[in-house]
Amino acid sequence: MVERVYLGDWAYNAGIIGFIEIMLDGEDIASQNIITVGPNYIEFNRNSLQGFSDKFFKKAYQRYPRTDELIDLGNKLLQKLKDNEFDKNLKQEVSNFKKRVDGFSKLKQLADTQNIALPRNFSKDDAEQYVTQIIGLLNENKQEFIENDVKTYLATISSIYGQKSFLQRSVTTGLKNRFYNDFEAPIIQRTNKQDKHHTCIFCGLRPAKKDALLDTGLVSFLGANKDNKNFFWNFKPQLPICEICELIYFCIFAGLTEFRIGQTKKFYFVDRNTSMLELYQTNKLFMEMMSREENILKEKGILNFLNDYLLLKLREESKFSLANILFIEIDLTTVAPKLYGFNISKQKAEFITSNYDVFEKITGNYIRINDNTIYPFGGFMQRFLNNTLSFQFLSFLEGQYLSSQKPNSKINTNLSPYRLQMYNILTYKYLKSIKRGGELMDEKWLWKMYFFGQELKKKFLASKAENKITSLAYRLISALRIGDVNTFMNLIIRTYMSYNMEVPALFVSCINDRDNFCALGYSFVNGLLGSEKDEKVENSEEVVDNE
């Protein structure tokens, strides 16, 4: 029998996309015959759900392949133990491996029962034996471990699922079978009892499944869960949902694009309900693009990865925002999942897309103070998105840069005056065009001022007074920070007069416009400190530095 599923709200749509992903199991949507894609619906035969449990677990495992990762890590470690000398570093690697094993509770339990342990002061032989035994354990019980990984993965995003039967804590083995028996088989064999009085509230096509509980049938962040059952008639948390829609909701995870930065995991979904195929292709493209970029970014090293990722995500978000497409970010790290939909204004989206090349230039910077590393781009973007960006942040960066130039400085940074100029340009444009809505002065002026700064620098160098550059820059920045036009102008005029040079008239042209003045002022300081071209920062060097 053919079942038809129509597009619905964003979570339902994500479920449909996830369902297609799971069912197709890597097949191309254009050349398959499992699912028929209509303009605003999909169709499939109940019989084609045969093997759904396998595919479902496979998909979930792809998201969290801990068992395979550990086997892979163990094998590499064994090879290293064979090839290399058993030194401090290798010993540390073995300890790290053990830590991972200990964190894998099911594996640890099994290892304990079989008395597999690593002695406190282990030798090379001990290490080899331990790693071999662990790999053996993993391989012997692989299916069970994989199911456990799936459970762990789905449990971490339990706000999507709640306590499904197969995810209950008491169920420790045979998860897939449980899933098969509870969901797949009854649908195929049509053995689910039907509620004669209600039809499914989601599709409105099929009769509801009898006694389907809120918790097993509905995503908790859509507004209904056990805690708010007092909103329901007679406090009965039963939900009129059909078995097909329930299955669709199970698949939400596979429809979301997942992205992980360190410990934080975020999920994204692009909702456009113009057509089913378009919805599928947009999300598929987004998933592929993000995973491709993730690899590229990872190759560039974690430092750039963090910054570039932020920008990349924003660019994609902006594109969707501009096209009036709902872009949803789901944060599942909290007990109550947070949803961020369309949280970037059209103006900001335009700003990001039109200044993308400038944004790109400022990613990858770091400021290291002793052991702490700050990534200015992150702070900059945060302020940009929260509407708290001002010249204060630029002033902070300038200060850090200047401090890093001192001999024996504790601050180390790859910021350059040229990059600071990019920060300056973006800050200025943001303040003028988004925050205040004023008219922008020509960007050329900022560069003109930058070159005036360089001209003065040359004069300083020619008269062997390079030590004056930093001290002047310091004083100019502190004047700009507190908006003291008088001190700034006095310094400028005094300096130019001492070299019998013309004072750039640009300064006085916008003395009454604080934003313009600051932007020009910082441009001048950047020019004073900088060189003609951007100091290229090699990523590889950064990574080495970072390690």
Binding site: I493, E502, V503, A505, S509
Partner: protein
């Protein structure tokens, strides 16, 4: 913002130079010439109102020091470099004027047929860090305070009874106009009290084209005062007066004061 511009006269060193007695007007025309050459647009904004002369208060004051000066009837002789003191609260004016005076194409500039000058050196002067509500000033150039009587302008001196009232009116008008140029609409914040310490009446021979045209006379006589005096008022107002000068014709070389130590 206060600077000193030192000009050397391109005649033999040690020689006595001569300038007409209305040398202030000559320097005024020099400054105007320099400014119009460098930035015509700004010059027009400052001195012209469409096709009429702009009588709005100018945001600056200057004073000329001629070393070893000696007055004859219609001339003043001096020996050495000419010092031009320029003071303003307006950065736009200062930058434009400073850049104008730096302009090499301007020199040698003929103040008169026989006296040509060239810029030798410039430097910024240190201003008092803090202004109090009571300050002692000394004049570098005479201060002109006048009141209107019918169509005539009559000088008012510190010895006159009504001086303080007229003085306050004149200063209030001056300060308000200068602040308006900066986009601020603020009058004198507190009434000024003038206490003469060592003040004397000064009569100055001056010449401006308007006067020559309307009266047919070559020289005008201006009565003002110079010397040492104490001024009490709001510190911000006193700073404004210090920077932009006091009284009438400040843009013509009058009203330049210095803080007396």
């Amino acid at each position: 913002m206060r600077a000193k511009f030192i000009f050397e006269v391109s005649e033999k060193q040690g020689q006595v130079h001569e300038l007409p007695i209305y040398y202030r007007a000559i320097f005024m025309s020099f400054l105007k010439r320099a400014l119009s050459l460098y930035n015509q647009e700004y010059f027009n904004r400052l001195y012209w109102w469409e096709d009429k002369k702009n009588k709005w208060q100018k945001p600056f004051v200057f004073a000329v020091n001629l070393p070893n000066m000696n007055f004859q009837d219609d001339t003043v002789s001096f020996r050495g470099d000419i010092l031009l003191n320029l003071s303003t609260s307006d950065y736009e004016f200062f930058v434009n004027m400073y850049n104008s005076l730096l302009n090499n194409r301007l020199y040698p500039y003929p103040l008169t047929d026989s006296c040509k000058i060239a810029l030798k050196r410039t430097y910024l002067l240190r201003e008092p860090e803090k202004f109090d509500s009571k300050m002692t000033f000394k004049t570098f150039a005479p201060i002109l305070i006048e009141k209107k009587e019918g169509n005539k302008k009559v000088p008012v001196l510190p010895f006159d009874e009504e001086f303080e009232e007229v003085f306050n009116d004149v200063i209030d008008f001056e300060i308000r106009n200068i602040r308006l140029l900066r986009g601020q609409n603020r009058e004198l914040q507190k009434r000024l009290t003038f206490r003469p310490i060592n003040v004397q009446k000064t009569v100055v021979k001056h010449r401006i084209s308007d006067f020559v045209e309307t009266t047919g006379k070559d020289i005008m006589f201006l009565t003002g005062f110079s010397g040492l005096f104490e001024l009490s008022g709001d510190p911000e107002d006193l700073k404004e007066l210090y920077q932009n000068g006091i009284g009438f014709r400040r843009g013509q070389g009058f009203g330049f004061v210095e803080v007396a130590k």
